[in-house]
């Protein structure tokens, strides 16, 4: 449904280099990467707000690269909602009806799905963040766009509202099956909502695949770190394991801590202990480098370790993830 081919654009110091990816009809596609990676530039180029220096964009097989935004059949939701402040909630949602007709039964259906019936007569300044984003979603969906663009829609919300809205977005997608492109820097959102996606960093696509592929088989140390695989080492550290990639990674939750040395254990010194509420994070200075471990066993950590203590750790060789070097 969306084909992005060799897209490049320069904006001041920033540039996108040969971005290509494809979103299939009805798919929920995620563009994710750290802040400043260029995700928003890709989205605004697809929306037609920015015109690329090179490359092509096709929506539903139709070339739209140089088309005006209003001719593209897309709708966009921003992190800061961008509601029209001089219009009521209802007027905001009905804004696009002057140009498109989704049928008269669509408005009440959308309003009830999003649970925003009671706030129809209010102005945006009197809404909470969650309500504003619901209105913004409704306004965009109201024109039944071919392509639905979500620019970090959850980033400005409190965590409990964020969780609820994340479920709402998933439900809307299941209900309407609209082709969706969402950008986020949160792997949690990406994993929960996305079918497939691309990791973007410094204006380039680093990896494309299903969420599981990216999560379980990151193709570079950067992607590995980004998806929470905090322990990435050069493969020669584990030369006895005969690894065929230049890097390996181990998830912090797969590291087990011991007080006593065992034949299979590695050794180090505790340098940080952080209580994260539902789990503990322990950072170890080991011969192979900095190792991060997670554990739910707060009592065990408190009783046995403090900063500066020697510590031994093991992991199952099955949990070692192979990471090819990025060759972009």
């Amino acid at each position: 449904m969306i084909e992005v081919k060799n897209l490049s654009i320069s904006l001041g110091d920033f540039s996108l280099k040969a971005i290509s990816f494809e979103v299939k009809e009805g798919e929920f596609y995620i563009l994710f990467g750290p802040t400043g990676a260029g995700k928003s530039v890709v989205m605004e180029t697809i929306a037609g707000v920015l015109v690329p220096d090179g490359g092509r964009i096709l929506i539903g097989g139709r070339e739209v690269t140089r088309l005006k935004p209003e001719k593209r059949d897309i709708a966009i939701c921003y992190q800061d909602y961008a509601l029209f402040p001089h219009l009521t909630v209802e007027e905001n949602i009905r804004y696009g009806l002057k140009y498109k007709d989704p049928g008269s039964e669509f408005f009440p259906r959308l309003v009830s799905l999003l649970g925003i019936g009671p706030i129809m007569k209010r102005y945006p300044e009197n809404l909470s963040g969650g309500e504003k984003q619901r209105v913004s979603l409704a306004r965009a969906l109201m024109v039944r766009p071919k392509v639905f663009l979500l620019d970090e829609p959850l980033s400005a919300l409190d965590s409990h509202i964020k969780d609820q809205l994340m479920r709402d977005i998933k439900q809307l997608h299941q209900e309407f099956q609209m082709t969706t492109l969402m950008i986020t820097h949160s792997f949690q959102e990406a994993f929960f909502l996305g079918d497939r996606g691309s990791v973007i960093h410094e204006g380039r696509i680093q990896q494309t695949g299903t969420m599981e592929e990216i999560f379980l088989r990151p193709n570079s140390p950067f992607v590995a770190n980004f998806v929470g695989l905090k322990n990435v080492f050069k493969a020669e550290v584990f030369h006895h394991l005969a690894v065929d990639t230049p890097y390996v990674g181990i998830r912090p939750e797969n590291i087990r801590l011991h007080k006593k040395k065992t034949p299979a254990s590695y050794s180090g010194v505790v340098t940080e202990i952080s209580d994260m509420g539902s789990y503990f994070e322990i950072v170890i200075a080991a011969e192979m480098g900095r190792v991060t471990a997670l554990t739910m066993l707060g009592g065990y950590v408190r009783d046995h370790f403090k900063i500066g203590d020697p510590v031994h750790f093991t992991f199952n060789t099955r949990d070692i993830q192979r990471i090819p070097e990025y060759s972009g």
Partner: protein, 263 residues
């Protein structure tokens, strides 16, 4: 705030009283200087009324013309970055720092029959100097920067994202401007026009160099003062002052833009 008063604030408050006195006293005193009967008589004087209406008419035409040109260009400037943008903005602001007689002379170098453009006008039978056209030109020259800067401020706070969303929903650029940008900017644009109007109606220096006659209100006050003294100048002054205060009150009432918050 606690009951404690910082010494710095004591000084700040004292300077506030000095400023208020400095501004308000001459204004209030103007009203007490003359006999109200003279003011009422002045209001009935056809010559004075004609001059005041001419002032209002030329200031209104000036405001309309400057708005027509300044608003579209201000919108472009706010929404685009281009080479020499700061320079272009500065050029438009120059009349604000020019002494008004200097502005008048600068305009005369263009409009005088001795200049190339002036000769062209005379040759084609177009009379500018000493007409209301000259008044409008002088007023526009000095008040255009105010309209331009006010229009820039009016557009600057409106996030481009609102326009992006509107266009993605199917509205054309023009339709977006009419449905989103203009309603959000209108209050600021109206207060900009009122400031421009006030600036235009108060212009004296540049106007008399292009057109001593037909007379506008500031010229009439000046002439009455230099020829007959205060007794004849003050009644006209009071009328113009009341007019200015009325405009000022209207400006205060319309200039609160409630949409700015919450964006």
């Amino acid at each position: 705030m606690s009951g404690r008063m910082e010494k710095l604030y004591i000084f700040s408050l004292l300077s506030g009283w000095v400023i208020i006195f400095f501004v308000a006293f001459p204004i209030i005193n103007t009203f007490t200087w003359t006999d109200p009967a003279l003011v009422i008589e002045a209001m009935k004087d056809p010559q004075i009324l004609k001059v005041i209406f001419r002032s209002m008419r030329t200031a209104t035409i000036t405001t309309a013309i400057t708005a027509l040109f300044a608003i579209p260009f201000a919108y472009y400037v706010v929404r685009h970055d281009f080479k020499y943008k700061k320079f272009v903005e500065s050029v438009i602001d120059i009349p604000m720092v020019m002494p008004h007689t200097v502005a008048g002379i600068a305009l005369l170098t263009v409009l005088s029959p001795k200049s190339f453009f002036g000769r062209f006008l005379v040759a084609n039978g177009i009379e500018v100097l000493g007409t209301e056209i000259a008044i409008v030109i002088a007023m526009a020259f000095v008040s255009l920067p105010l309209m331009f800067d006010a229009a820039k401020e009016a557009f600057k706070w409106i996030p481009p994202r609102l326009e992006n969303v509107s266009r993605s929903l199917g509205a054309s650029h023009w339709s977006t401007f009419v449905r989103i940008t203009l309603p959000l900017a209108s209050k600021d644009l109206i207060s900009g026009m009122i400031i421009t109007w006030a600036r235009a109606i108060s212009e004296f220096g540049a106007v008399i160099m292009l057109a001593y006659h037909p007379m506008i209100a500031p010229t009439l006050i000046y002439e009455r003062y230099t020829t007959y003294g205060m007794t004849y100048a003050v009644p006209v002054t009071v009328i113009l002052l009341i007019l200015s205060l009325l405009i000022f009150i209207i400006l205060r009432l319309v200039s609160v833009n409630q949409f700015r918050k919450g964006v």
